[in-house]
Symmetry: C2
Subunit: 630 residues, 2 copies
């Protein structure tokens, strides 16, 4: 399995994306193909030794709460420790932060081994994302105390956005944050709220839902990044997203040197969510300020049975919380896409292994007429090959897209001004696809992996049913499919007068122009040009009445078509890359990539017609459906 | 939930399929709308009281083996008892067998309540199918002893076909059956093997895999119907399906009065399969004749540590076992399609309820700009409506198809000679679709039901994740998707010179002709006519080289397109039926059916182009893929 993945990564990273050329840039000047490979080697090894053998263990030994602590299996501790020891938590950070200034695209590629081995053990993404947000928006002291201790592995981080009544609709969060004026007034030894070295000190009360890694004993402390609303002068919460601010709320209170003070903050585990999959990662409902762990001023008495609130330190400016959070959204969404992709590939590798060894049935036609001949292997049946090739085209295509996006992140950070601006714009447009497409089609890949296993695939004795369950989450978290689609058609393709879509079109156009020069690819190039034309036309038709309700009524089919067009582009570009170099790769692997590209153009791209049809006509069948007619 | 289902069933059964007209036939002359309704009422009540409340219970309290017995939760016993007491096990049978001579279409409709309430509690399908096979192929004594005691609920039945090494490839089964000559020779009181009143007596040895309800204590006895091979004169098994015979192998031995003799037959539970879903039903690996429960002659000593074999009675003629089994295949496959359908509808009803109450987000555009206004319900969002309407069109469309097929069963049994022959032919062609289409698209419906629930849908606190897991089995058992597709394109549409396909085309053509007369439907009629033309042309193109390998390389995409065409036909026929009568139904329900039909023609039917493209061109991308290129 890891052999196939490694050779695919090597091709995409070095041959296709030419990651080595990044070493010419100042930030990466100490790096080389050798240092990149060393990182890949390390991650491959840790994933093989500490993650893969325990994927079923963490599914079966689901987290539970003993009344005091969350209990996780030992393998989760070991995996986390090995990951933190590897330095990957801060791989992309500056040297002065203890990082290795690794390009994000290499970090992403290296991280893919963990996703393939066990998506649900690894929850380090949120810690890195949390620390990154503090790096960008926090004070130097917040960076030093909180971000640094997350990067070095001492503490873990969470993102606390959703609430039971506010999932997709973040503007409706009800967690309140009020300045902690009482603590100092109570003369309990705390400095006034607006003079705290860790940042303006608030008291938070509310409930946060779906918090991954919201409570555990894997690390000494947990740094919650919490969205909450500061009431206006009238004591009321400001409606909408403008009222939202961002706070650091540590599970255990700390001093400015990063030492635990010995006091627990008033953040209480209210419940563990029992999920369909992805069970290795705790997912929690957290209560902030319910008075379970009173913090100092509580002796003064909480209101209505509650504590005075959990202590939180404001990050950035009041009212700009969502903006701060969104800073890390692109990377988080690419990471979800990558998670979905790696589950898809994990299922592909498992079903490929199975198909190569399992004997069942005989060839079609004359060759199979001799019932006394031994059975053939599954992989000798055309329909099984079809299911394998579909998985390959989905999984490797999605991997190409996610790495391409990761490369854009690097360009946005280290390219020259114009290239960087273009990369950021292109990434904006591609992000909903990088997140949604693998979530949908690599889930479908996992279903095909089950199908190849037949009845065995439906049992828990084989890994594929777990991949399928784990993958079902990815269309939901970090913005549902519907949210991604509304973002794509409602914002990304129309923003700045459609500049993003135009940039994408010209970028795709460059691939088309190259591919047209190769006879093997010219028909596909034409097909992609037509698809690009159709998507562009549908975009215009959707918005032709200027009515957002009409335009967005079929946003998801639009996103599906858009995604298939993007993936066709990826495959065409990959195929061109294969043909353009005398490969250092084996011929078989190249033939496989060309076949996967061909599969995508023959079997998949033609699907966009049905999806675009309803978009272009602004079909109102669904939107106009009366509620009582369901 | 059951209100919606009942009104849908009433419409399909009475208004659309005109089931009442069956009461004019001799077999059903005692029946009336009232007796049909009484059966529906009873099943609806039992499903509501004894099945629905326990669907999660049987998922969580999975069957386990204590070393002696299979342990199931009490609710499974209660549900089974209520079902048996209702008389539904023999509802369609003759009066003289204790049956009620109910039309199969009414039995199917009534049975749908159980599927919707808890698919995994109910495993009665196999008992009825087992008894039906004995009725047709068994001796009068076998019918009286075995079938009768299954119909009356005393005993349960199984179908033992697959083996660990032979799933889809039944011709490779290795279970051996040899005439039981030794028992009488050992003078242990048994009559000679060929004079046993229960049928020619054999000794069976082998392993049977995936046996649903293979062991349990729900009933006094279990009647296994087992496929096995009788060795030839050279002691070798005959290769291929011709060597397969059918045997009755009771778990506990019985006499000719149907009393237990007190001896256990040598059928041993070798293991329970631990499944992804459908956990209420035990699924087993059974060992026949391993010597765990020696039967009489074993004192003479088994060979190589085994017993002399499990006692089995031949059903029908030697070598015709598969033919006997296939007798019940059509009904079994319709039943799987119905199971998939009801899971799809269960998810639809659950997500519809949720969408009507859950508040989340605000309208698109101006109406949603006021962030201080309360959130709206999910069902007010166009994308949620889209996901609901998709589920409705999949689930209700599949229900229509399955009931239509059940009605064909009745016609095949009670119609005049010509009509009966036509019905049987049409059913042959439609069976792979009735089984495969709901298995694929009602699974997709379940995924949409999860999606509507957001994060909550991914937890085990809501029922939808279980529906999705349960439904994943249906593309696998009773012939996988690949097997169905090969059956459709390789056999059903070409047999008898394509007579089945021609009959289907003319039947669809009749609907098209009717629909063209209604302005509301004429465009859809044209669209369906085009689809029928495209499917027919693709069929011819696939077979144009006469090479089965080329024709069948894309059998699954062919089946998907064929299925969508059939479903479009169902919806057009239903829509026509709605418009053709002044409904006794509420206007909203009719509007809903018309919208679901419209959805299917606008959003779904256009998908067939992509599927048919590879069929018509006999695309070899998958089939030609070299193994080392994966």
């Amino acid at each position: 399995m890891t052999t196939s993945l490694r050779s695919t990564l090597d091709f995409l990273l070095y041959d296709w994306l030419q990651a080595e050329s990044l070493t010419a840039r100042e930030r990466f000047t100490d790096h080389s193909r050798e240092t990149f490979d060393a990182v890949l080697d390390t991650c491959e090894r840790i994933a093989r030794e500490k993650y893969a053998p325990f994927n079923r263990t963490v599914d079966v030994q689901e987290p539970h709460f003993d009344g005091e602590k969350v209990i996780l299996p030992q393998c989760t501790y070991d995996a986390r420790q090995a990951f933190a020891d590897s330095g990957m938590l801060s791989a992309a950070q500056d040297y002065e932060l203890g990082g290795m200034q690794l390009p994000y695209v290499v970090e992403s590629a290296a991280g893919s081994f963990f996703g393939c081995a066990s998506i649900s053990i690894g929850s380090n993404l949120l810690t890195t994302g949390n620390a990154n947000a503090i790096l960008v928006h926090g004070t130097p002291m917040q960076q030093q105390v909180f971000a640094a201790n997350e990067f070095n592995g001492r503490w873990a981080g969470t993102m606390c956005l959703s609430e039971p009544q506010a999932g997709s609709s973040l503007s409706d969060i009800a967690t309140r944050a009020v300045p902690d004026v009482e603590s100092a007034a109570a003369a309990d030894g705390m400095v006034p709220w607006d003079q705290d070295a860790l940042g303006p000190r608030y008291r938070l009360r509310g409930n946060k839902m779906w918090i991954s890694s919201g409570d555990h004993e894997l690390t000494e402390n947990i740094v919650h990044l919490v969205l909450a609303k500061i009431p206006g002068p009238d004591g009321k919460l400001v409606p909408g997203v403008k009222g939202i601010s961002l706070f650091i709320v540590p599970k255990k209170l700390v001093d400015i040197k990063g030492n635990l003070t010995g006091e627990r903050n008033d953040v209480a585990l209210a419940g563990l969510n029992h999920k369909l999959g992805w069970r290795g990662t705790t997912n929690t409902l957290l209560n902030f300020g319910e008075g379970k762990y009173p913090v100092r001023a509580e002796q003064g008495g909480g209101l209505d049975g509650h504590g005075a609130g959990a202590i939180g330190y404001l990050v950035g400016k009041p009212g700009e919380g969502l903006k701060c959070m969104f800073h890390m959204m692109n990377e988080a969404r690419i990471s979800i896409g990558m998670a979905a992709t790696m589950l898809g590939l994990a299922g592909y590798y498992a079903s490929l292994d199975y198909a190569k060894t399992r004997l069942q049935g005989r060839p079609i036609g004359e060759a199979g007429k001799d019932a006394s001949a031994p059975q053939v292997r599954l992989i000798e049946h055309a329909d099984v090959k079809r299911m394998l090739l579909a998985q390959k085209s989905y999984g490797e295509g999605a991997l190409a897209l996610n790495l391409y996006c990761a490369r854009l992140v690097d360009e946005g950070r280290t390219g020259n001004a114009e290239a960087a601006a273009q990369a950021r714009l292109l990434l904006e447009v591609l992000t909903p696809i990088a997140k949604s497409w693998p979530s949908e089609f690599c889930l479908e890949a996992n279903s095909l992996a089950i199908q190849i296993h037949g009845g065995y695939g439906y049992t828990r004795d084989f890994p594929v049913e777990q991949y399928w369950r784990d993958n079902r989450l990815n269309m939901i978290h970090e913005g549902t499919h519907g949210i991604q689609a509304a973002d794509l058609l409602g914002r990304k393709v129309v923003m700045q007068g459609g500049a993003g879509l135009k940039l994408l079109a010209s970028t795709i156009g460059a691939t088309i122009a190259l591919a047209r020069q190769r006879p093997e690819l010219s028909a596909y190039a034409d097909q992609l040009a037509q698809a690009l034309h159709d998507v562009t036309a549908a975009t215009q038709a959707a918005w032709s009445t200027g009515n957002a309700n009409e335009a967005l009524a079929n946003a998801v089919p639009y996103m599906q078509a858009f995604g298939h067009m993007v993936l066709a582009w990826m495959w065409l570009d990959v195929a061109h890359s294969v043909l353009a170099r005398d490969a250092s790769l084996s011929i078989a692997a190249n033939a496989g990539r060309l076949s996967a590209a061909r599969y995508f153009f023959r079997y998949e791209l033609p699907k966009i017609g049905a999806w675009l049809g309803v978009v272009a006509t602004r079909d109102a069948t669904c939107a106009a459906m009366a509620e009582d007619a369901f």
